[in-house]
Amino acid sequence: MNEHDDRDLDPGERQVQEALRALPEVQADAEFRRRLKADFVSGAILERERAAERSGGLRRRPWLWASVSAAAVVALLLLVFNHGPVWTLHQVSGEGEVLVNGRPVPAQDIDALNHLLGAKVDLEVPDGVRLDLICPEVLLLEVAPNSHVVLPADPGRLWGRTFTSRVDKGEIRCKSGPEFAGYRFLVLTSEGRTEIAGTTVSVYKGDDFTCVCVLSGTARIGRQEGTMQDIPAGMRKVMFADGRPPLITKIAAEHEEGLLQFEARSQGAF
């Protein structure tokens, strides 16, 4: 130490300096010193560092743990809260074998159907069998005889409020429930898409056309997102696979009858 450094100290400062320098030396913990020396001399200090890195940086950063945990809890709560109503079997009529994701199930085996039916299931219903599925308070969905459809996902409360079904063959009928507001149900066929919001609608997929009949409310129907057209109650729109212009006319009597029966059945569903 250079005494010149301290030449200009006043008596008070010098008193402080003397007090500081009189502080006793701090002794490290003997075991810590012994272990560190052994690790340093042997090179194990490197291995100790690698082990600490392997054990994860999170453990050495408690605030990071806290942030990650809090984020995980929030995400979990959101997931739980977002979980909305789920699709369940409402009614079955007729006899035959239903294919659920390719697996044959007797239509009268309600337990098996209840177990297997759910979101995004590929469902083939034979001639003579009709299934009604319900998403409680949101939507009732009938899969008519001789139909092949993919069921929609379970709708969420906060996100995932658009749910989509696909009709490859046959007909579905749907009616929105009291809690439908804010949801958006899309039905896709190879000819176009139908957007349903607060209506009773049937979508029939023929070999080379799709016919959408609107019994009540309105439905937006079109080949794709940009060409959607509002179709009012009492009307139907037919879209053709061969590119012909779509046809908009009054609902055919047989379709109207089917929808009226469906609506009558739905009275006690919600």
Binding site: E13, A19, L20, A28
Partner: protein
Amino acid sequence: MGTGPQSPPPGGGAGEGSQGAPRASLSRATLEGVQQRDPAALAELFDAYFGRIFNLAYRMTGKRTAAEDITQEVFLRVYKAAHRIDAARDPGPWLMTITANLCRERWRSARERFDRRLRSLDAEPELAAVVPAGGADPELATEQQDRQEKLMEAIGRLAPPLRSVVVLHDFQGLSHEEIAPMVGARPAAVRKRYSRALAKLRDYLQDVLK
């Protein structure tokens, strides 16, 4: 930390009276052994500098666990950079620079800010461990302990740039010329900081120094 092995000027020759291990430099042969990571040479280096490094870290952080963490990190860095050590120079200034930088890094870290908030809610029990137990006069021992705790508390209240200068000068025995490259300031600035630090300590310690 952008400091390579022994990048500070080879000051080395601070006088006796500082805390920690003796200030004697290691021989060139020993430092060449350190370059080869020879166990005997590493042991000699450890014994020569462990005390100084630990004391510097303790005085800078005021916490035993923090001092242990920093001391361990210093020796880890020394081991990794051993082959680059200049056998012609005293490694002391380099080691002290690493230690001081690690203390500053720790002070700035989120963890340390978190710990400081916690400490502000409680007393600092570790300070008592500095004072050797026992003694002929328990009353005198208690009085000394109280005085030492107040001194350490006062040092802890200094802003890190001021505290660094006081610890390096008064506990490590380094001159202002030696401290300057370690803290990235000119010697005149170090002298000013030291003077300001003593003035603040004098205010903090008015009752103790009567």
